[in-house]
Symmetry: C2
Subunit: 155 residues, 2 copies
């Protein structure tokens, strides 16, 4: 299956180029949310009760200091708020502010509109299939990366 994996490497290379171009386009809009922080906001979006910085860092696979700084930026922009966690005074509950929710919706709308245009000639089933394939691939990739770590450690 090496040929297929190799082909997929090329497909990913192409995709990354496309993503780079997307980001350039988006940057021209001067968005409220710094491009690199949309992911963090997205993660918070799904959590009605907010979460701790530790969980953000774990999920995003980012260094805690990186997350701490990202959160500080988002708090400074009024997009995220820190609330005391009565069950663990060392930590704070991070949650989207209404402004943050608005900004995130705007960002997602922008990206979705662009993707809508890209997918204009696709059927709903085709789009769903691509999404499902990517979901599965990403999950399997993370498993492979975990195993890669374990293989390296065993060397």
């Amino acid at each position: 299956m090496g040929t297929d994996a190799r082909e997929l490497v090329h497909r990913l290379q192409d995709l990354l180029r496309g993503v780079r171009l997307i980001k350039q386009r988006r940057a021209e809009e001067r968005p409220v949310i710094p491009l690199g922080l949309v992911g963090i906001l997205s993660q918070l979006d799904g959590l009605a009760d907010g979460c701790h910085a530790r969980e953000l860092a774990l999920h995003a696979r980012l260094d805690p200091s990186t997350v701490s700084r990202a959160v500080a930026t988002l708090v400074a922009h009024g997009l995220v708020e820190r609330r005391p966690d009565p069950t663990d005074r060392r930590a704070q509950v991070l949650a989207l502010t209404p402004d943050g929710r608005t900004a995130l919706t705007d960002a997602h709308d922008w990206y979705a509109r662009l993707l809508d245009r890209a997918l204009a000639g696709w059927t709903a089933d085709e789009v769903t299939a691509l999404g499902a394939g990517l979901r599965r691939f990403t999950r399997d990739l993370e498993v492979a990366l975990e195993n890669h770590e374990n293989l390296e450690a065993a060397r």
Copy 2:
């Protein structure tokens, strides 16, 4: 179709995280080819007769100065050679050296091995379908981005 596009945004976010982790892993190997230059080398790989820097920049959607510097790095590493183009003395033909070809094969092998592990539970058809979906998506995305540019220009 907004929901699907929005879902795809999330899928891409996840994928980018995976790619980031891949790159980290790869960086630990201290590869001969700087990570960011694999794409340039890959592009040269498909060209038996080499090409000009202009073509690299066009295809990679990178600024000419960026490409010029990338090429300079690759030449310094002995991975790319510059040959005079007798048909256009302003330009040079850039081509992979044997060392470059070896380094590129190593890089692709590394990535392909990782992807092989990720795809261990996939059928060949499933892999091919994902590759085809990505190819189509990337192409349609670039078209959408072009149109996005035209839309902005018309505003």
